[in-house]
Structure formats: C-alpha cells, structure tokens
Symmetry: C2
Subunit: 120 residues, 2 copies
C-alpha cells in the first residue's frame, strides 16, 4: 500500500496503525444502524416520552399532557419510536396506549445518566 492510496494530503501517516484500525472496523452498515438508534434517544422530546412511558403506559393525550406538547407532535414522535421498535401500542376503542417495547432503553438511559454524572 503506497502513500498515495491514502486519501489524506499528509506525510506522517502511521501506516501500520491505520491498516490495523481499518482491519478492525466492522461493516459500515453497523454504524448507520448504530447512529440511527442513538439518534432516537438524542432528542429531548423522545427522551422525555421514553422516560414517561417507563413510568406508566399511557395514551397519546396523556403523554401530550405530561410533556405539555401538542398531540400531533407527540404522535409523530411515537410513530418514529414505533417504526424503530422502541415502543409498541395497543388500541382500546378510540384510544391508543403506548408502552416501551425494549428493555435496552432503560439500560441505555441509566448509562447515559451515569455519564452525565447526575443522580435522578
């Protein structure tokens, strides 16, 4: 592998380290999925929704009230969370009750909180 196979305009490339790292990088597809997953938690509204649903199963209107936001925006976000299989719902008459679909979410929250250095 000669230097001009590298994309970068510099002379001090540590070829061995770069090659070793490249070798160890998993399929790039994993990073897309990983980022997609973390992005879900990387929004204040969604984080609140998930925390709230971790306390109680609730209908859309209840969640909207807990967060002080419109039904529509909550519903949009719930749609996103549903598509990512992070929440699931059950329909009872006109109402739709949402709940967490995944135990990992709780674990992730706790690690995140630990990182931030807050107790709750």
């Amino acid at each position: 592998m000669s230097k001009n196979e590298f994309i970068c305009d510099c002379n001090i490339i540590h070829e061995d380290v770069v090659k070793d790292t490249i070798k160890k990088m998993p399929d790039m597809d994993l990073f897309n999925k990983l980022a997609e997953f973390f992005k879900i938690l990387g929004d204040t509204t969604r984080a609140k929704i998930l925390y709230a649903l971790d306390q109680n199963e609730m209908c859309v209107c209840d969640i909207a009230n807990v967060l002080g936001m419109s039904k529509s925006s909550i519903s949009h976000q719930l749609g996103t969370l549903r598509r990512m299989a992070i929440v699931k719902c059950r329909k009872v008459g006109k109402e739709v009750y949402y709940m967490l679909d995944d135990d990992h979410v709780k674990g992730l929250f706790e690690l995140g909180i630990e990182h931030i250095g807050h107790g709750i």
Copy 2:
C-alpha cells in the same frame, strides 16, 4: 386540578396517571443533557471515529484515512467530541493524538449493538 388546566383538547385524560407520571419526571434539564449526550453517538461519522479510537489512539490524519474523509471534517467532529469530554488529545510536535476519554462510551456501544441485534 380541573380539566382545563391540561393543555390537550381531549376528554379522556387519565388524571391520576398523568399526575403520577409528572411527579416522577426528573428535572427537565436532565433530558437536555441526556439528549445532547446521545446526539453525539447519533451520527455515523462520530460513531466511526469513536469506534476507531477504541481500537487505537490516532492523529487526525490517521483517522481521516481510516474513515476516508477530509481532515477538516474530522477535526470539526473531534472538536465536538472534545468539548463533550468524550475524547481527549495529546499534542506531539505538529501532530495531535486523540483517544477516548470515557469508558461509558464503550458500554453504550455494546448496548446499542446488542439492541440492533448484530454481533461484531
């Protein structure tokens, strides 16, 4: 608490559940910090950088080559990661070597991967 204290235009509010949930919600500031933190991992480039740095400490140019991206964009992202105290760096001559600053990152990655259901 009368119904019109609620923000939502619906009749089926489960007052007890809403009040209970509100009571259990932590300081809203926590959600901002939490979301801010997860947002960091919620970007493909940053996820790759962190994974790469988990394999080897590297200079900016090396990272750029591993990811096949420009030095500038990598440097911008490293700046973000540094400001969030997720990576740290040491300067050696003209070069700046970056490494992970935080063990939680690894744990978070693993949980994320577990969620996605991939092995690596």
